[in-house]
């Protein structure tokens, strides 16, 4: 079974982000909860070549509140 080691980075934010190991890869558009904050996955790329059954991924996140503001057409969202 594959294991996914994922680097989650919040776009435009130096703070936050996470490194998690999971059984399923993150998918663009899905929501993730990290340290009590909700984010939407904006992009997923391979970070480095797999080693054995471990796949190394990077996922760019956007805070859900920013996504919701954008969808509502609120300036600055």
């Amino acid at each position: 079974m594959k294991i996914y080691k994922v680097s989650y980075v919040v776009k435009g934010h130096l703070e936050g982000g996470a490194i998690l190991r999971q059984r399923k890869p993150p998918k663009v558009g899905e929501e993730v909860l990290i340290a009590g904050k909700r984010y939407k996955v904006a992009e997923v790329i391979n970070l480095m070549p797999p080693i054995d059954n471990v796949v190394f991924l990077h996922a760019t996140l956007k805070p859900l509140e920013e996504v919701e503001k954008e969808m509502a057409g609120i300036p600055g969202g």
């Binding site: 703070e15 490194i19 080693i51």
Partner: protein, 145 residues
């Protein structure tokens, strides 16, 4: 420890069953609560942690500034940089989820085992290097994005 937690533990990559048993014989499994501090920035390294369950937050302080570097979940290492350098912890690591479980290794025993069992030591150090490389990738992307 649950088989699944062990199976997913990247630190054990390359080790055979006997070596895994030897390594685990010097580890203690501990459970922590939110707010517990695993390591403090500036303190001498004495323990290496493998997070089995839950989440920890890594923070670094420079002067008055505190930066949340990253949250680390299951399978991630804490204290690996200080172990490799044989020095002091570069950040403070605090538990942010209850319960958080970790395998805890005494650094001196861990290094002694690596020296006594070179094949095992090679894989453990290689796996630690890989963990550090991934964290560097992560931080590089944070700077770019």
């Amino acid at each position: 420890m649950a088989d699944r937690e062990l199976e997913d533990c990247f630190l054990l990559r390359g080790l055979n069953d006997a070596e895994v048993e030897k390594l685990l014989s010097i580890a203690k499994e501990r459970t922590y609560s939110k707010g517990d501090v695993l390591v403090k920035q500036g303190e001498a390294a004495s323990q290496l942690f493998v997070i089995l369950q839950g989440m920890v937050s890594v923070k670094t302080k420079y002067g008055d500034k505190v930066l949340d570097i990253v949250e680390l979940g299951p399978g991630q290492l804490v204290g690996e940089m200080a172990l490799v350098e044989n020095g002091v912890h570069s950040a403070t690591v605090e538990v942010v989820e209850t319960p958080t479980k970790a395998l805890v290794f005494d650094v001196d025993k861990f290094l002694a085992l690596c020296e006594a069992e070179p094949r095992m030591g090679y894989w453990l150090m290689r796996n630690i290097a890989s963990d550090i490389a991934f964290k560097i990738y992560h931080n590089n992307l944070k700077m770019l994005l």
